[in-house]
Subunit: 512 residues, 2 copies
Amino acid sequence: MAESWVNYAERIGSDLHLELSGPGSKRAALIGALRDAVRSGRLAPGTRLPPYRSLAADLGVARNTVADAYAELVAEGWLTARQGSGTRVAERTRPLHPAVPPKAPAPPSPPAPPSPAPPPRARAPHRSRPTLHDLRQGTPDASGFPRSAWLASYRRALHQAPNEVFGPGDPAGRPELRAALATYLARARGVRTEPNRIVICSGFAHALRLLFKSGSGSGSGSGSGNGGGGRRGQTLRGPLAVESYGLPFHRELLAAEGVRTVPLPLDEHGARVDRLTRERAVLLTPAHQFPTGGPLHAERRAAVVDWARARGAVVLEDDYDGEFRYDRKPVGALQSLDPERVILIGSVSKSLSPAVRLGWMVLPERYVGDVLAAKGEREAWASVLDQLALADLIVSGSYDRHVRRMRQRYRGRRDRLVAALAERAPHVEVSGVAAGLHAVLRLPPGTERSAVGAAVRHGVALDGLAEFRHPDTDMPAHDGLVVGYATPPEHAYGAALEALCAALAPGGTRVS
Amino acid sequence: MAESWVNYAERIGSDLHLELSGPGSKRAALIGALRDAVRSGRLAPGTRLPPYRSLAADLGVARNTVADAYAELVAEGWLTARQGSGTRVAERTRPLHPAVPPKAPAPPSPPAPPSPAPPPRARAPHRSRPTLHDLRQGTPDASGFPRSAWLASYRRALHQAPNEVFGPGDPAGRPELRAALATYLARARGVRTEPNRIVICSGFAHALRLLFKSGSGSGSGSGSGNGGGGRRGQTLRGPLAVESYGLPFHRELLAAEGVRTVPLPLDEHGARVDRLTRERAVLLTPAHQFPTGGPLHAERRAAVVDWARARGAVVLEDDYDGEFRYDRKPVGALQSLDPERVILIGSVSKSLSPAVRLGWMVLPERYVGDVLAAKGEREAWASVLDQLALADLIVSGSYDRHVRRMRQRYRGRRDRLVAALAERAPHVEVSGVAAGLHAVLRLPPGTERSAVGAAVRHGVALDGLAEFRHPDTDMPAHDGLVVGYATPPEHAYGAALEALCAALAPGGTRVS
């Protein structure tokens, strides 16, 4: 039976507890964290806890500290220990509560009888299949979130905020954040802009919607605004050219807004921008094609900007992981070639966390008014306090430090992936540049489906390349796996890699 | 010339600085806060500072403390003092920066020559006319935001958060917040629900969009999602019956989603729900009709639920200020009459701040799936960290304390408004129940426009009732002013009230 302790440290958040407690109190902190996790239901009854050694290594504490903590909690009735099956969460703990903060350090009480807890929500954020090793693309290592730095920035921002911050917000976003981003993006991504051409949004999806939806027409004077429903004042209109491989979610979102997407083939130099014809806009991932992993060739970068100039069109640059390049300095943003022809869209969803719902659009001047009209008369989306915190995080240098730290971490993971596959599954090629939070493993033709199946049987969740293929493309299909090596917490990556290699090793697909 | 110090304390946020500093350091804290405010541009060159006595009273410090601080800053060159024109911000301060936190306490330096600062954004969140006294409806007193309590909750929530919080979020919202809201809304508003039927959103406008837009169709399997743009999987369809007076913004938002709104007349018992016919949904403000101010009569509450049951329709309950009733316990939510026929929508925009972009929908079971599908596969909107902080604020009791405090404050303001008008402008009637953050002043027929004009000439920003009238209604128009008495900070309310009375006093409209 599968052990469910892989994401263990994630669930108890004990790293933070330990980080915050002084030396000598680590045992107490660990006990408290574990007790909270059981009491709140974050560690479910029956869950097997990790071996002392693993948890001790993950948390950077002595093995005895973990052993002591387990023993204490067994004595209190929260855990059970049985020869041969390790330490587990006691089956009959108190009724599950949502993880609200306990009012006071509750005295250890004997486990209560089970109560008719509501069934867990059937709907999982991704898929319903439980997995041991999450290698799906799209998420940074959640355990790497810089809690202390974020909290320090949030505190400073809240202290320094003038009261007007708590009133209705400007839909462009807080000036502090737009100013910080203008400077940061110039330095880190070569973006050429100014704060007045940056509009804050809640992420990439929101940016796409703002570009393709009609303005809300909040002008005074018209007054009516009733009836009709005709789309007026749209910033951009479809059809939109896209890369033949990309996120299905983006295509679906655009379809819901009535925008038809037209696939451009990809080759070893990136998107075939020479195939652009009558479209008024193209969506690209120039720094690191998603998901196939190559950069857009310099000549094509120039060519697509020329095309946009010649046709009065615009390029949407999805700069989703531009800060993460491992073999060289990142390629600068395409936007720098022509700030009047390229809209750059970025967010903190990869660099920091998708839980911080903040993104930005760097706009040609002529689009600013329409985008703001589409966004509404006041800030109705992005948390103003988080905006101020992010501004402080950037200005204080903490954001840079965090990105450097995560770059190092992900680079190490990619290196380990490449080395392990070279040894264990030499028929699998890691393609694309050394960058980002994911890699594509090229497979021999016709083997993708069986490779995904083998991964699943080894407890590994990931996607085949086919999931990302545009349904209307005529380019030849490639077999491959998209591996999100950033997703697991640090302590769990080794096991995930091991399982992946076992699945892909010659003969691995025959394991049942 | 108009003095612009009314919103002074707001802009410098000095109350917080003082709150945080220990006794004895108030002078230094005030000097620091003022210096920062000038340096950052929050206090513009030429701005006149408040008299010692006013600021001392507002901040709860000795008059000498303020006098000392002013003198110090005059000596440093940040301020100027001249007989007869009071103390002002020096005209030639350093170039304006966005209000980013200073890296270190900069040494006082002599004012630098002016630089070509970028022109301020022409687009103000509301209107471009500068005002001294902001009595526009819609916003709580921004100076009342519970910074300390919010920060404490945020810190606790961040410490206790399991790592998965920083991964992709469930579009329903954090379970901690949904559980806290289910309990709170039952207690405070009589709502009958459970966490699984609450969906978190970024405010009322987002809720309306989620109800009337098509689902994003993010199901696996279909894969395509391309082309078409036909609206499928909408939760609700128009036309939507609305009250004849309401926020134009809501009508415009609905029109942009293709939803026609049909106005119901209002009388002394609230919306004429007997006029409902073929509509499938009606949007009401039952606790406190917005803006006219009356509650929906008990018989009509029952009648509209009966109508919804008989016709398979649904009532949208906009519970925008339900916690603020001053003469009695608040009327419970209409939702409690039939949780399967009423969708309750609420947010913290009035109770806490519109800067915290969080709201909620309490849904009949059959709508939960569609709303989640419309919201998307992951949380793409509401800040997950703010969700956790709000859950803690509610569970810890801080939210209740804050609401009680603000209720007392607003009640006092309404009482002062009523008393002042009775004395100074007895022809003006304050209508509606003692509740909420605004009042409607009924005026003699035909006098609304001149009253608004008089208010503007007295430096008061507010709206006439005509702004809120549905263009298609056939009910007779009423003349009136909508006064947002919650909007100014506490220290500025007296002056705002004085100006309003001067404008409305017999003969006041003749001031030019």
